[in-house]
Amino acid sequence: MKLSTFNLLNRTLSEQQLSLITRFLLGTSLILIIALSYSYNEINQELINYSEKVNQTQRVISSLNEVSSALYESTYHANTYLFLKDTAYINKTLAAAKTIPALTQKIDSLVIGNESQQKRLEALKVHVGEFSTYTEHLAKSVTLVNPAIVYALYKKKNLEVDSITKLISEMSNVEGQLMQMRMRSRDNYKLQVFRYNWIIMLVAIVFLSSAFVLLDRELKRNKFYRVDLENKIENLNRSNSELEQFAYVASHDLQEPLRKIRSFSDRLISRYQEEVSGEIFQILGKIDGSAQRMQLLINDLLSFSRIVKTGSEARLINLNASLADAKSNLSEMIIENKAVIHCESLPSVEGYGSQMVQLFQNLLSNSIKYHKKDQRPVIRITHRLVNGEIIPGVKPSHQDIQFHQIRISDNGIGFKKEFSEKIFIIFKRLHGRNEFAGTGIGLAICKRVVSNHNGYIFAESTEGEGANFYIYLPSESLLS
């Protein structure tokens, strides 16, 4: 069920939507990955900070321990002196006591920013000062005989030691608690941040995989289309060449019996002219006429099939020259009908020369042929450059290309609007054969020539008001 919904969703996506979605997925994944790496950098910095703070607390505790042990050492030597009366111990007491102020100085910088600890440290320093003073006095008084004084000093010193020890243990406790707190919040931070990062990573992975699935599907679909297209092109080429062969062979093989029909009925007439009655003569004439017409049709079909294959290589064709050739081929018709042809300068296009001559020739002869009985035919040929997008029914790939628009307009009898497309169909005629001669191949050939050149042709007319033919030929070569 899920899968089919997914497929349905996929199938209804247009190429543009798909491209937008893929871009969105890839873009978001990229942003998430950048955010993730930035976040990891921040985490590292923060963790380093936490570690430094924990480290600082540890250093405070160890310095306090050092003070403690110096104090203990000094006290121990003083006690030993009192017991043994050996002055060497007094010196040791003094030496140990002298290291203490330096140790307290060291703590100074470590407790910056912690007021209560700073206060305790100040108190500690005062007591250490007192302790040092008493210890020095004690050292000086050992030469005195009065033990009472020595004892009093000793007692005072010990009181200071008690105070100092108390302060140290307070400070150590506070630092210990601080350390535990910092470690706890570090762990908390780690946990939070990692959870958050996991979520981002998961989203990025989901987005990336979706983009991958979509792209993969597109690639597979493209491959399918390509193979399908290749097959179709192959089929098209095959059927095209078969069609050419068919038209050629059919035209030739159909010609044979027709030629015989005409030749034999002809001979019948010429041979038995005197003996044959008028009716037979008429019938033979009809047989000949029909065969002649069929021959004309077959010949036209043959010329149409020849135009289907382009044969020669495309080259740059000056349309002015093509038009001049067409006019010279039609010179008799032009003179006979007193036709006037006005023409602007035409461009050069990539194409097939003989086909272009045929295009102009067919259009001009059409315009002359369908002129009004009471007017001499006037034909105007104009040229301008236009954008592909204005052409009706233009292929999407031609929309952004510039086209030469060549307009051929005449003052002839024109045709009804609804015939503007039908007139390009092979053997399609708008008039009876008695009115106008011809098989109806001319405009079909024009259409074929124009499409051989990747162009377009349209006709526009109102009955009785002349006709306009628009030819659009690409200004850049699209022929391979």
């Binding site: 030739h252 005409r262 002809d266």
Partner: protein
Amino acid sequence: MRDKSILMADDDADDRFLVQAALEDNNLSHAVLYFEDGEQLLNYLLPENNNEIPNLILLDLNMPKRDGREVLKIIRTYEKWHNIPVIIFSTSNAPDDIITAYQLGANCYITKPSSYEELKNVILSVHKFWL
């Protein structure tokens, strides 16, 4: 006017008949020998048969056994036959066929006319020009 000898190879009996009729209707009495394919014509020409060299050959392009192109090629290869005028007389008006025929050494290419009147005229002009 002395009568000339003509060889005509065409697989189509009707065409052979029509050519003969056109000759008669033009009051021409050339001696025409008809062959149904290219091979028969070549056999006739072979030296061991001691036949006279003709004044003209009318050759259809598409025939069974040996077609007109092959026959023309062979005729133009032999010194003895080199100068016989050969007219291709074919239904085809395809540019490719016409070009090939001249390249192989045809002296003239005539597309079979579509009416008998035209045929008569063609035969008359062949007679005037080539015989």
